[in-house]
Amino acid sequence: MKKRVVVIGGGAGGAILANNLPLEDFEVTVVDRSPYHYYWPWLLYVAFRGSRRPMRREIESLLKPGINFIQSGAQSVDLNNRKVVLEGGKTLDYDYLVIATGSRPTYGQIGGHEKAVEKYGDYHSTVENAERVWKSINSLKQGTFAVVVGGDPYRCPPSPLEGLFLAEEFFRSRGLRDRVRVVFAVPYPRPYPAEPMNEVVEPLLKERGVEYITFFTLDRIEDDRKVAVSMEGEELKYDALVVIPPHVGTDVKISPEDVLTTDRFIQADKYTNNIKGFDDAFVIGDASAVPVAKTGVTAHLQAEVVAKRLQGEDARNNGRTNCPFDLGYGLGTFVISDYRNPVVKLPPSRFSHMAKMLFAATYWDMVRYPELWNPIFEAYFDATEPAKLARIYV
């Protein structure tokens, strides 16, 4: 008898997991509300480069033949009785469940947030909002452009600074840099929260004349006065601003409810991705509350671990991150760390930027063809273990 695996979510984690299961042993069903799989990192280039390159593909086209795909949202999950109820009312029984529903921005925590997004856009939600950012920076001829980290967590820890770097490059390339001030505000003690990576990026901010405000926990945006106000009452004046929205977890009803955190992320073992208290249910990627960055590489690596575990292998996560980080002007770096090692101080290089672009181009193939890419990635992750790189980049 084949084991029935239900995967909720056809994004990076869900699709990679499904494609990694041998269909001789598993009957795999992927469920997603949307027919599309989005390559979210590309929103950055829609927002700050005006890119029109398609950033989505049909989920079905990314799944191996033989995997079932149901286009429907999941309404509720009953972990005790192994049942998933779909929005149309259909019920799926499973032997194993993998929740990969990702995370989504929320606009209720910061006063005036929704209005600000309607006006200036953002690049963590939709293509339309990212296009609004492109319009905003194109119409700003003088004054202050601000990027404000609105709260944690959010997808892709480097993304706030990536937007900032690309915006600075944009205004400079338009010859407006002496008239447009570029300002960054974060709730952390330094521009990038992890110290070693901050040592790489802070000099770049100084070199490029970008101002930054630390310890700024955004409370509200008063757009009539054009100020962002912190929880301690500090004010930041702007002419256009982009807020990195705090994210929340799944909107699927899950019982028992105590597996969820207050912001609806699902608690799980950080090594095995087992949902707290369940050996037949897993959560991977952004939807989980495990202490790792919310990023595609995490979802990818966790998907591989869970696929191996479902096949009886005692695979474990090491908490590896490998986040490409665009630093503007054709430079990039990677944020590389794991559970046991701090972030590597990898200096800016043109290679890292090129690697980010090549990755973006071949992303779909990496999802679709794990037989080819798994060994290549494995070799890459092995070669770039943070412990090894820390001996080179001291």
């Binding site: 820890p157 929260p193 992890a194 310890f215 926990t217 929880m231 705090p246 790792v292 701090p342």
Partner: protein
């Protein structure tokens, strides 16, 4: 309203770092609440101290037990 005690387990976070977990708990807290953060990242201690100094919240306790830092913070500085 009674005070809440928010427990945050940030052990093992290297990137983006445990300070982001503290910031998240702080956003959802109100004056009078207690936030307790556990972390293993060695950068956590100076970060918490700097954060307390700048935001004006109150540090009730900061101790180390076998490689784990525990910070107990009382939220007082919200306007």
């Amino acid at each position: 309203m009674p005070e809440n005690r928010l427990k945050v387990d940030a052990r093992g976070i290297a990137c983006p770092g445990p300070i982001t977990e503290l910031v998240k708990a702080y956003r959802n807290a109100k004056n009078g609440d207690i936030i307790e953060v556990m972390a293993t990242d060695p950068g956590f201690k100076p970060d918490v101290e700097a954060w307390i100094k700048r935001t004006g919240n109150q540090l009730l306790e900061l101790r180390e037990e076998g490689g784990t830092y525990v910070a107990v913070i009382k939220v007082t500085a919200k306007k």
